[in-house]
């Protein structure tokens, strides 16, 4: 009485649609991982290039260092990784491996920045931001992330290096022990000084001398631009 063939056909077609969706999703996630990896490769190359340029500094002067000395792609790379971390369509192992490379690239970039600061006597501002992606361990980290994004948008010269405090990576542990970062997240290290807990943009601008300086510099340059016009 029941045409079971029809059910089998409908089941197979539905299964095919599901299978296609799973395959397409995996393929696209793979492409996205490749995309992130290629950015990481470019950042690594940028750092290598900067390091080489830095090594040559002994023979040249700090004036030869152009604006593109440090990689500009660390920020977008971080955004993409953060998206991958919160999305279920990525393979966890892939995301983990990308995160590991990202943190190492950040540390290398940070070290290069520090050496440049010492050698050329410049005062760039950089923030080491320690967070946890586990909301139970840091319920304010999401908000702190928004604050730092807003701050970076406001001051493009500001470099923010973010690290998952509990991530199993020796270099991060070394970093936290150097700066004696306590597990009171979110934690910020600005010019070697630790700041714990959620801070708004206004609080950072008023309490942190380095950011205050950035604010003054930005408003002075904006005023002089207006005057020139």
């Amino acid at each position: 009485m029941v045409d079971s063939k029809k059910y089998v056909v409908a089941f197979l077609i539905t299964g095919l649609i599901f299978g296609t969706a799973i395959m397409a999703s995996n393929m696209l996630a793979g492409k996205k991982v490749e995309d992130v990896r290629s950015i990481e490769d470019r950042v690594a190359l940028d750092i290598l290039s900067s390091e080489t340029q830095f090594a040559l500094l002994a023979e040249t002067s700090c004036r030869d260092i152009g604006p593109g000395f440090l990689s500009k792609e660390l920020g977008p790379l971080g955004e993409k990784l953060s998206y991958a971390e919160n999305s279920t369509s990525f393979n966890e192992e892939d995301v983990d491996s990308l995160k590991r490379s990202y943190f190492l690239l950040e540390i290398k970039d940070y070290l290069l920045m520090k050496r440049l600061t010492e050698k050329c006597n410049i005062h760039p501002t950089f923030i080491l931001y320690f967070y946890s992606s586990d909301e139970d361990q840091c319920e304010d980290c999401e908000r702190m992330g928004y604050v730092l994004t807003a701050l970076r948008d406001k001051y493009p010269d500001l470099r923010v290096y973010s690290f998952d405090y509990y991530y199993d990576l020796g270099a991060i542990s070394t970093l936290t022990s150097i700066y004696k970062v306590k597990p009171e997240l979110p934690a910020l290290i600005i010019n070697g000084k630790p700041y714990y807990g959620l801070k708004t943009v206004e609080e950072l601008e008023s309490q942190v001398p380095a950011i205050k300086l950035l604010k003054t510099a930005t408003s002075t340059s904006a005023t002089s631009t207006e005057e020139n016009e």
Partner: protein
């Protein structure tokens, strides 16, 4: 817990997709049958073949619409001597009886007046004295097109057909809600036609379903049936292997709720009625003797109530989470943070398995909607109701599904109005 939720979500999507695929396969199977049926019904038929038909119009406080309902019946393209109307006033408290009285001189019309007892009692009273071969019912807020009966009666040439249902459309939609229902009714026309071919119709709607009179003699009259007597009658007929078919060309227009409260109340009653009647006829579920009706349609119609609710709750909870994120962001950076448009980098497009399956299911729904409108109106014509339906309907459904479930679980009594 999250994993369990994901599994349920995948299962719900699989079932929805399976149902859509099944409908499309059925459509491919029956489209030539539909074409042949259209040709067959448009051919002139000898008047002698037309049996006598009685149409019962139960009325309770329908003073605004009942005149047009009766006039539409009197204008039916059908031999006058073979068509009679029984108008039953079910204890109306408005001027319905006076409106009915204006038709008492018409030889085709008979008027009955009784104390209020519910729609099923009004129809049963009328059916008791019906002698014609066919008897039908038309709700007093619905209007038939002139050719409706001529598109229904020929189906009874097949001796096994015991009831024929019509295609219901929305009468003069005026606001967004009624335009949404217009699209939804087109979808129902398609669904009923497919269910008809599967022998799985589970409702003989109040707006113009025609029966062989002997159905009532053999199976008994209408019952209260959780305020959905038309659903119970169809289920009882299915239980007794009485064949019900649909005539998609027989168009009937019905007045639909024009506000959300009325709509939720009506749909909650339908869903509540389905759930409770399905429970009363649970013996039909997964019973091979009842073909597609028992093995597929009844179980999937029941499951879909829960799965639709689950899927919409999931979507809404996703939106709530996003809203909380935006609120958190606003709390700490306000509008000082640079406003950023959603990124158009393909990387940020959600290409998760779930999103892709939902996209495919939506595409399939759109295709079925296209077929539905073509079947309902003869051709596809875009109207604003389609957009309203696509963007709003999904989020209205949980309102009545949850109300119906709540009423069922807590055995709350539902009412018509």
């Amino acid at each position: 817990m999250a994993e369990f939720q994901t599994i349920i979500l995948y299962c719900s999507l699989f079932i929805s997709l399976f149902f859509e695929v099944f409908l499309l396969i059925t459509y491919l199977e029956v489209r030539s049958e539909i074409r042949r049926e259209n040709e067959w019904l448009s051919r002139p038929r000898p008047e002698a073949l037309n049996p006598a038909v009685t149409i019962v119009v139960p009325c309770f406080n329908e003073e605004k619409t009942v005149r047009a309902t009766i006039e539409s019946l009197l204008n039916l393209d059908y031999p006058k001597e073979k068509l009679s109307l029984v108008l039953v006033n079910d204890g109306s408290t408005d001027s319905t009886l006076e409106v009915l009285a204006q038709f008492k001189s018409n030889p085709q019309v008979k008027i009955l007046d009784k104390t209020n007892g519910g729609k099923h009692t009004a129809v049963n009273l009328a059916i008791e004295n019906v002698t014609s071969a066919l008897v039908g019912c038309l709700d007093a807020d619905s209007f038939v097109t002139a050719s409706a009966l001529r598109k229904i009666v020929p189906h009874f040439e097949d001796g096994s057909v015991m009831a024929v249902t019509s295609s219901i459309k929305v009468h003069e939609p005026k606001n967004i809600l009624q335009y949404i229902q217009k699209t939804e009714y087109s979808w129902s026309i398609f669904l009923r036609r497919m269910l008809s071919s599967m022998g799985a119709l589970y409702v003989t709607p109040g707006p113009f379903s025609i029966f062989r009179t002997r159905v009532f003699h053999e199976l008994g009259g209408y019952r209260e049936a959780h305020m959905t007597e038309d659903m119970e009658m169809a289920m009882r007929m299915q239980k007794n292997h009485y064949k019900i078919v649909n005539s998609h060309g027989a168009h009937v227009y019905t007045t639909t709720p024009d506000n959300i409260r009325g709509l939720v109340k009506q749909r909650a009653r339908w869903t509540y009625g389905f759930l409770n009647n399905a429970f009363d006829y649970k013996g039909l579920f997964f019973n091979k003797n009842y073909g597609h009706f028992g093995m597929f349609i009844m179980p999937i119609a029941t499951i879909s109530i829960f799965s639709s609710l689950f899927m919409v709750i999931n979507v809404v909870s996703g939106w709530v989470q996003r809203a909380i994120q935006i609120f958190n962001r606003y709390q700490v950076v306000g509008f000082n943070g640079k406003f950023s448009w959603p990124s158009f980098d393909w990387y940020f497009v959600n290409t998760g398995v779930l999103s892709l399956i939902i996209a495919l299911a939506v595409a399939l729904t759109l295709f079925i909607l296209y077929l539905s409108i073509r079947l309902a109106d003869g051709k596809f014509k875009f109207h604003r109701g389609i957009l309203y339906y696509l963007f709003l309907y999904t989020f209205m459904v949980p309102l009545w599904l949850s109300k119906a479930l709540f009423d069922t679980i807590f055995k709350r009594k539902v009412s018509w109005r």
